[in-house]
């Protein structure tokens, strides 16, 4: 149990995938204009990442490592994660229409997001057990979603502000992201 808490804390704060590892920057910059979009994106990412970490662990330990095919990790993970996400979307559409309504547009978007693949690869490199892999993916996704919502909130506020011309648009976003990243760097000290 304590190691679960440690993994969660590490992935959410200390090793936050966007701010410290710089993964998944495209949705971070792209889908962060409005809080409701950020929430949908975050929920969909949580779903996909948790699933991806579980399945890629199974693939890695049962197929890739025994046959010494670790060099196929990237392409094998992509194939399996993409098809599994498509599959779960089909099942979700049939059985959970309400959930599909909320997550429907976002799920295909993040199927092959760099964060999803990156977390799966880092996870297999870290040599976590199955349960820990799932917690790892879930924590990474919670960190990502939380940050996305925070960033969207900042952006919503900035949208109505009068900024000096050189700061407008992407510039202020980069600066905001940089300051957020600085904040997250501060967690490095409590690394267990």
């Amino acid at each position: 149990m304590p190691d679960v808490v440690v993994i969660l804390l590490t992935t959410i704060f200390v090793n936050n995938f966007v701010m410290v590892q710089f993964l998944g920057l495209c949705p971070f910059m792209g889908a962060s204009q409005r809080i409701d979009a950020a929430l949908g994106m975050g929920a969909a990412t949580t779903f996909v990442l948790t699933l991806a970490c579980g399945i890629s662990y199974l693939l890695d330990t049962w197929l890739l490592v025994p046959f010494q095919l670790e060099y196929l990790r990237i392409i094998a993970f992509i194939v399996v994660i993409a098809s599994l996400v498509q599959f779960s979307q089909i099942v979700m559409r049939a059985t959970q229409p309400l959930l599909h309504e909320v997550l429907g547009i976002f799920v295909p978007l993040i199927t092959t997001n760099c964060a999803v693949l990156g977390v799966a690869l880092l996870n297999s490199a870290a040599g976590n057990s199955f349960a820990h892999s799932i917690v790892y993916g879930f924590g990474a996704a919670v960190g990502f979603s939380g940050l996305l919502v925070v960033f969207a909130a900042v952006n919503e506020r900035l949208a109505d502000d009068r900024l000096p011309a050189p700061f407008r648009g992407s510039a202020i976003k980069m600066i905001t992201a940089g300051i957020l990243s600085l904040g997250f760097m501060g967690f490095t000290g409590i690394s267990p």
Binding site: Q33, I75, S83, I90, G169, S170
Partner: protein, 292 residues
């Protein structure tokens, strides 16, 4: 043994398994019938016109879910066929006998006030009472022709209504977007013109990218090195969105009126009291014995 063989076998196996899984899932997990009927029904224009050969939009939605052709709805037009084809994963078919939109108009001099057309209207769009002239509320008439048949004096005409403007075409351009991002810096509203341009066909994406916040200032056009007609594209997209919203509002109004009509019919049969007839009265008296 050749050293690349296991890798190739594994990847082929994985891809094959994944494909199999998806194909099986698509066939097994069709959305539940009730839900799919609801979704089809939402797409239909709710004119309840029965031109498809079914008594209303919901029965037709049920029939489509059970495998009926998707191109039998003239009021929905080609747009409905497109949406249905996408929703159900079927082939798009051209619409059968497409008719221009019409509304019913009563020739007031000829109307004899028989009230026969009132119950025939599925959306309660005809008003009038016995021996009085009837008239059609034009805004609520769906042009379904169901009132023509009961009229004994054939005083109802179908009059074509001005066709709603077709969806505006997106302007042509010579060179495609090169994703330089200049437009994003130029946009005073901090929108993402290049994303908006790429997603111009997809309403849901435009909504997320906040198209409605565009103030049509043409600043993105001026900085675009490909000289794309960005603002004119966004204007067209906005018009399309508005047309879509209008069509949805109309169909929702039709549906609400149709449901009210159905409810009224149902409550009419259940609420009307059954009074004792004179025969019942004499039978009661006979039972009591003696004259009262």
């Amino acid at each position: 043994m050749i050293e690349w063989l296991p890798g190739v076998l594994l990847m082929t196996g994985l891809a094959g398994l994944a494909a199999l899984l998806l194909v099986v899932a698509r066939d097994r997990f069709q959305p539940e019938t009730d839900e799919i009927v609801q979704r089809i029904n939402q797409v239909l224009p709710q004119t309840q016109c029965a031109q498809c050969g079914y008594p209303g939009c919901l029965p037709y939605a049920e029939a489509v879910a059970a495998g009926e052709a998707i191109n039998l709805c003239p009021p929905g037009g080609d747009e409905t066929v497109t949406v249905l084809a996408e929703l159900l994963g079927r082939e798009q078919e051209p619409l059968q006998d497409k008719a221009a939109p019409v509304v019913a108009v009563i020739r007031e001099d000829d109307c004899i006030g028989c009230t026969l057309c009132l119950p025939a209207c599925p959306v309660d769009a005809i008003i009038g009472s016995a021996q009085e002239m009837h008239t059609v509320i034009e805004a609520d008439c769906t042009g379904c022709e169901l009132c023509l048949e009961p009229c004994p004096v054939d005083c109802i005409d179908l009059v074509p209504v001005p066709v709603a403007a077709a969806a505006p075409a997106f302007p042509d351009f010579e060179m495609n977007c090169i994703n330089c991002g200049f437009c994003e810096t130029a946009c005073p509203r901090d929108l993402q013109p290049q994303q908006l341009f790429h997603e111009r066909e997809r309403m849901a994406a435009l909504e997320l990218l906040d198209l409605s916040a565009c103030i049509e200032c043409y600043k993105c056009d001026r900085v675009c090195p490909s000289e794309l007609p960005l603002t004119r594209t966004f204007k067209a997209a906005k018009t399309r969105r508005q047309q879509q919203l209008n069509a949805e509002a109309t169909s929702q109004r039709y549906q609400a009126r149709f449901e009210a009509h159905q409810q009224r019919l149902a409550s009419a049969t259940s609420k009307v009291r059954k009074r004792p007839s004179s025969r019942d009265k004499s039978a009661l008296l006979a039972k009591l014995g003696g004259d009262v």
